[in-house]
Symmetry: C2
Subunit: 136 residues, 2 copies
DNA sequence: ACAAGAAATTAGAATAATTATAATATTAAA
DNA sequence: TTTAATATTATAATTATTCTAATTTCTTGT
């Protein structure tokens, strides 16, 4: 159980003003036990459900991207018409259940270390992501 | 150098009628030495450039998805506003140069075998894709 | 506490990728 | 050659995302 005060500090520490909307979004995103995979639309609906307060869609987009930029959210590449985000910002991989449209975390030991043997001059590796698609 | 006749047979073999438009699209997609990574928009413009004939955007979408369904094209998951496709339909991985917005093939030996140690009951693995993002 | 400026929120408009529609044209088969 | 099935096309519709500009809320200095 994380307190509202902690969210306010977290926001302050990253020079994001602790507004009511951002705190509500924090509640939905970070006040939970397990990692959370979501689309903007999931989040938008959950805010109403869980906090009882409405936040505009534009603010949800703005806040998610602000959090993403600050490193509080990870973006997961999937072939979907909607962008997926993840509250687990550590380097990790995913299952994607194509039918359920659900992401599932893979522990790094479930995949093993990945060593990229090729390099491109003048470029460095920013991230290595494994996506395992699941079907029935 | 692949001939038009081969494309016609290829289309017939997959119960796709060999129309002028589809043959032109085949020319652009498959009449080349190296694998080809593209967006619908790339392809749409190349058709005009390379064949001199215009194909409607709707037909490009339809044909790309028909080819994808038939297994002649692979879809590459990237966080981009445009969907990427690949004429190399074998199981392989990618660099994505974020600045240039270009995909580069990785050979399987550049990545090594990936063994997924976790399984989800009732689900089986459909694909395993590694995406390595590159920055300057 | 108050004022002033900076930053955030919002509804709604704009944009852009993709998909759907429905009329016309082409292809395949009898 | 007739006919039915399928494909193409222009255009409209849809959808995710971003932009805009007015309003509200925060922060900071007084
Ligand atoms: Mn995750
Ligand atoms: Mn490729
Ligand atoms: Zn983002
Ligand atoms: Zn497709």
């Amino acid at each position: 159980m994380t307190s509202k005060q902690e969210f306010i500090e977290k926001l302050r520490n990253s020079s994001l003003r602790p507004t009511k909307q951002r705190i509500n979004i924090c509640e939905v995103l970070f006040n939970r036990d397990k990692t959370f995979h979501f689309t903007i639309n999931d989040l938008f609906n959950l805010i109403k459900d869980k906090t009882g307060e409405k936040v505009s869609l534009a603010t949800v987009y703005n806040t998610v991207h602000a959090f993403h930029k600050k490193g509080y959210l990870k973006e997961i590449p999937i072939n979907s018409n909607q962008t997926y985000f993840d509250t687990n910002v550590t380097d990790h991989h995913h299952f994607f259940d194509v039918k359920e449209e659900k992401l599932i975390d893979l522990k790094n030991e479930d995949v093993g270390p990945i060593e990229i043997q090729k390099s491109i001059p003048g470029k460095k590796i920013k991230s290595v992501e494994v996506l395992v698609k699941l079907e029935d």
